[in-house]
Symmetry: C2
Subunit: 335 residues, 2 copies
């Protein structure tokens, strides 16, 4: 299953609106003979890729897959049919498919005499490569990660507006890696006007790196006014969508319709405040640099809270060092 | 040495301006036969306490001590003399005494035929129980820890000024434990006017806890105006010093003269900004709660920085969870 998860992880950002699934085929003796992952929309699912890789060695073997194999006929035939046709005797999957149209894979397989087990490393898959897609499948809304970099005293820029570089080279590299694996980056028009951000995945030193960055997320600018001609976000490095609204629900509906599953919200403070207030932030990713400014703008603008008991409550999911910075990941505390 | 460090740690906050030292005596066979720690000023040093505890079993044995034994005659006779008189054959200490008046202990012991080793667990002692005193001995200035509790977005209170409780019960308990082991708590007059803080060590639920809190730090209020009659900080729960200045160097000089070694700076933002600007914060202790407010005051006021390259640079020394909160400890990055 770890190999399947790694396969799943490797195709994140390339499969939406389909889930980035990984699949490993073991032969009858338990040797790994096939590995596959979901191809871009319209292409084969992970199970089919792995079966092709395994060839006839799949007969009598086991398929280990991060998500319950689909039983429905979408743009591709159902994976359950391919598994049964290949003579697989056992299927082990991590997470059940929450999508009613695709679910039923377990039943189809069992009815065909295939042994089915589930739940193996389910947490790792749910919080890892399938996190955004599972959220999308369950809620109908893209998964939103709000990412920001701030000083220890919460500032995102100095008094004069300068912010290069608040966070370390290691943190910037990690953010660009994150951008590469996301479907869309969302920023407010104000941020574009202030910073002329390109909103592309780049190498850590800020230059475009054509060799390692082979795909770019959709760039989404939110705001009612026009974008200035010549703005970097309008260059041809990636597709850009300008949504003339600041209402989070409208932004997410528009993105969901385009098949966007995994969204990175990159500011500014006003837009982030609106998303937090709307309950539309599914994860906070804070890169905290060990510096102090004592002045300058903060990361989050008004989010509808006037008194301490109304604070938006989160739960820390993980804290790691990223070079000299502290990276805090937090998710809504629904309790 | 770990037992000596624990002994040292246990008397933190009771020994200033003397160092909180711990000492363990091993007999000739290596069995622990004595334990001692520095008594309040005028009382015995750790070595003498441990020797008294060991009695005649110290003869031919080893003294393990967190700080180089003193060779000078202050309010008490030199510890080196006591160790030699007790027939100790070997002394192992962690950290050399940086105080020229007290140093020379190693030479005196060696000249008397005692084997001396040093450096054992030195880092643990330097960053632990002797940290503040070593800073004081080296710089002549009290060690300042600036502590604050903030939300993930850097707020110390909501828009209406409410802040009870931004941090968790676990974090508050840890702060009260810290207050118990410190010499003085410093706060600005504005904080006293706003919150009527008592600045005492209490149990985590905010009530005084007479059984467990057996000492209180000196309370120091900084600011030129008068304090309101009936302010809690003027009650008789602990001594209070009102310094009619906001200049950090003057505050620290006044405290140093009183033998204050270890200071906890608790705000507000203006005073903290002045201390940061003056380079007078030796450690930042941030309790970050996983909540978002989007409005309200932030922890640090103006600290003389107008552009990002002028940011005060720190280095993260440790990150731990404290209940649901993230506790970040950072020290000035002098590189």
């Amino acid at each position: 299953m770890r190999a399947a998860i790694a396969g799943s992880d490797a195709v994140r950002g390339t499969t939406s609106p389909n889930p980035p699934v990984g699949c490993v085929i073991l032969d009858a003796e338990g040797n790994q003979v096939g590995l596959g992952a979901t191809q871009p929309p319209g292409g084969s699912h992970a199970e089919v890729m792995a079966l092709v890789d395994a060839g006839t060695k799949a007969r009598g073997g086991t398929a280990v897959v991060t998500l319950e194999p689909c039983a429905h006929h979408g743009r591709t035939p159902p994976c359950t049919r391919a598994l049964i046709a290949a003579g697989v005797k056992k299927v082990v999957f991590a997470v059940a498919d929450p999508n009613p149209a695709a679910a039923g894979g377990r039943t189809v397989l069992t009815d065909a005499g295939v042994t089915v087990e589930s739940g193996l490393l389910a947490d790792e898959v749910e919080l890892g490569p399938l996190r955004a897609w599972l959220h999308y499948a369950r809620t109908g809304r893209p998964h939103v990660t709000w990412k920001y970099a701030a000083t220890l005293d919460g500032r995102v820029a100095a008094a004069d507006g300068t912010s290069r570089w608040i966070s370390s080279e290691e943190s910037r590299a990690q953010v660009h890696d994150l951008r590469r694996r996301i479907d869309a980056i969302v920023a407010g028009r104000g941020t574009i006007l202030a910073d002329d951000s390109a909103l592309t995945a780049r190498s850590a030193d800020g230059t475009a790196d054509g060799t390692s960055v082979d795909r770019q997320p959709l760039r989404v600018v939110v705001g009612t006014g026009d974008l200035p001609e010549g703005a970097r976000v309008l260059d041809d490095a990636a597709e850009t969508l300008h949504l003339r609204t600041r209402e989070p629900s409208e932004v997410l509906a528009a993105l969901g319709e385009r098949g966007v599953v995994d969204v990175l919200l990159e500011g500014g403070p006003t837009l982030a405040g609106a998303f937090v207030q709307a309950g539309a932030v599914d994860r906070v990713l804070a890169y905290v640099a060990p510096t102090l400014l004592g002045d300058g703008p903060v990361a989050l603008g008004a989010s509808g809270v006037s008194t301490i008991t109304g604070a938006h409550r989160f739960r820390v999911e993980g804290v790691t060092m990223c070079g000299p910075d502290v990276r805090i990941s937090a998710v809504p505390d629904r309790n």
